[in-house]
Symmetry: C3
Subunit: 309 residues, 3 copies
């Protein structure tokens, strides 16, 4: 029996396969229920606090919409400059304070481990909405929901992760969940931005077949799902290296047209140039449906930690 009531959601690593499937199932149920009405009445009178020490419109609005669609209310801040942090307050004191005002907290913070620190003192559940280069478990779960709803299954798929695999917390969190499934992984990255060795090793020791390549076209030939992320100039020590490589990790329509039929294209967004806009009309371009899945997954997590499911 899966039981998340009162739990913190801090990292992809905390989830068993059974728990992942439970969250996805609850999310899918909510998706179904929202077809006939704009919101539910599950968390009436309860308050979500969104504490964004680092701005992220997408993630913040997704959490807020999720709480409102469940029937609850929202308070919070969108950037640290308007918070007590500017006055020198510790993260712990801010969290202890907000616990007096809210029933659940969603937070984003620039420092790795900050969600964990918050959870140590909090008297209400903490939902980690990204802590620096650390974890982003709600993103990973919405990615799983997207794969499942686009493909009907997760087991048996070949999934390519493309771009900055060294620094990308979304891909790090995602493989933590994918490893519970029977998937083949392809990592497509320039040498300088390869997936960290300990992650690749851990996946292999977990029995997950992993292939590494620098060729996006070849990965496209055999992938069922491609997960694009951005290759940022500032990540390269040598700018010339960036100039040489950047176009190799851009998904164009002609590349898509040569890919394995039925390809599903994902992206955590925001995108800049890494997916050409003429890809948007391709039926398998799932990134805006992925955004919507974020709503359902966050509804599920809020409802679950509040014990409303």
């Amino acid at each position: 029996m899966v039981y998340l009531k009162g739990k913190h959601i801090l990292t992809g690593k905390q989830f068993t396969r059974e728990e992942i499937e439970h969250v996805l199932q609850v999310a899918e149920n909510f998706k179904e229920e929202l077809k006939s009405r704009p919101s539910l009445d599950l968390t009436r009178g309860q308050i979500l606090a969104t504490l964004f020490f680092e701005p992220s419109t997408r993630t913040r609005l997704s959490f807020e919409s999720a709480m409102l669609r469940l029937g609850g209310s929202v308070i919070g801040f969108a950037e640290a400059s308007t918070s007590s942090t500017a006055k020198g307050e510790s993260l712990e004191d801010t969290i202890l304070t907000v616990c007096q005002y809210a029933d659940v907290i969603a937070m984003r913070h620039p420092q790795i481990g900050s969600a964990e620190r918050a959870a140590r003192v909090a008297t209400v559940p903490i939902l980690n909405g990204g802590d620096g280069a650390g974890q982003h478990p709600t993103q990973a779960l919405l990615d799983m929901l997207t794969i499942k709803t686009e493909k009907g299954t997760i087991d048996g798929l070949t999934v390519a992760l493309v771009g900055d695999l060294k620094n990308g917390r979304t891909v790090h969190a995602l493989v933590e969940l994918l490893k519970h499934y029977r998937v083949n992984l392809i990592f497509v990255a320039p040498e300088e931005l390869k997936m960290p060795l300990e992650i690749t090793e851990s996946l292999k020791s977990h029995g997950v077949p992993v292939k590494e390549t620098e060729s996006l076209p070849s990965a496209l030939k055999e992938s069922d799902v491609i997960y694009m992320t951005r290759v940022q100039k500032e990540r390269f020590q040598d700018p010339q290296e960036y100039e040489k490589l950047k176009d190799a990790f851009i998904l164009t329509r002609s590349l898509v047209d040569q890919a394995k039929p039925g390809l599903t294209i994902m992206h955590p967004l925001p995108r800049v140039t890494e997916i050409a806009t003429d890809v948007d009309s391709y039926p398998g371009a799932a990134y805006f449906r992925q955004v919507k899945n974020g709503l359902y997954v966050r509804m599920a997590l809020i409802a679950l930690v509040l014990g409303k499911v």
Copy 2:
């Protein structure tokens, strides 16, 4: 039959006289209903997103209050620095994302045409809350409601528009609506800030009598309604020209006392010095009632595009 359900509200130009009257009628009904209770129950469970890429407290709070008074909820951001735009996301992607979270979007953006761009990709109705020097249709409609409720009618009135008629998007939007009525217009502006010729010509060809003058006192003698806007120093190429002219476009109490009896005074706000504060107690000073009418008109527009009327 007027039918705005699912429509975008982008510009004053899109409205027929029949549609204007329908919006004003719905707004007046809401005003009446709010006399007996603080809010309605029309949009329960639905979400308005307020996307203010450029700050505007007045317009944002007006939209938010309107949605809350209809019984709905609100998410959003108050300035671009906290939005994904800062990360290089296109306006189109931001809109497509927010469409996954909200049922209707009110936006303000510094660039002309941005509301139109948003509407081209949006899957929910867009309400233009001002796009640079472009349009501001909700302001124009609330101005119309103010004239109608202050005067009982719009047809037959003489309306003077005063101040910066060259750059003022509120006056440009307002004349787009007034041209459907039997009004006389007086444009009161310094030579450098005159109403653009194409607007004056278009009004005349539409059969609207237009008079132009630089004399505020003479306009006051024959106007039923005077619409003040600010003459900003930075609009003048020659600062000395500004110094010479600025006092000529300030409405003082003594000017008001010499005006045509029953004068209605309007202003889109915020004002700085262009209306002296001792004018506030004059019974025809309608600018704060105008603010309230903004609430009713935005309630009407939200309810109409959501198909709730």
Copy 3:
């Protein structure tokens, strides 16, 4: 009969003992009612506007949570840069505008007297959430509620106020309320940051016994309640003076262990170093319960001025 409906809450000075007790009683009732459900249904459909011309996460979120827990809704801004003030609008015009959107206004402003100015033009109740070095009456009332609920009574207690008593608006507001009770006060401050003479004199003439000292340990020996505030470096003309004194006004666990048994420790928060974190586990450390009392007191004040009690 105590009657606050439609009243502004501007200063600690405006309250009689009867009114203080009424507010505390209503707050305690709400506390009791919230034990069995997450929110009440008293202000359904009504809107609180939080106008924070100066940022204060704690106070803003407390007011917002209070309104939501009463069943109402919230609009507002968290800092002046996103408000019309940036466009040169007067405080009075901003208030007159927001009165068209909301049923009650909570504001914080950097200037002394600004809440009073707002109240002069407002058509809805103003709740002063701090005006510069001026007043902060909701903080003072929540402090009173904390003393009462921690101690069971206020009469007969010895209360020590510690730290910057010269500039601290919270201690100035608090003694305005305490003077209605039979309390002994101890003021513990460095010479440069002593309680202003007019306040000390006024308390004495009111019959309140006041003792002044620079010794925190000696005050701890006889106090039932200690109210800590921060000694800020920038308040000293001579930085060396600060270095010499600062440690004398820090509350450590060993100091607490030598204090009068049953000591209650309060702090308006945010704290920086003036209370060591190992004091947090002391049973009488009441500062986070104090935060929660802020919620109840603000619920009481909102409900009272809206005539909902």
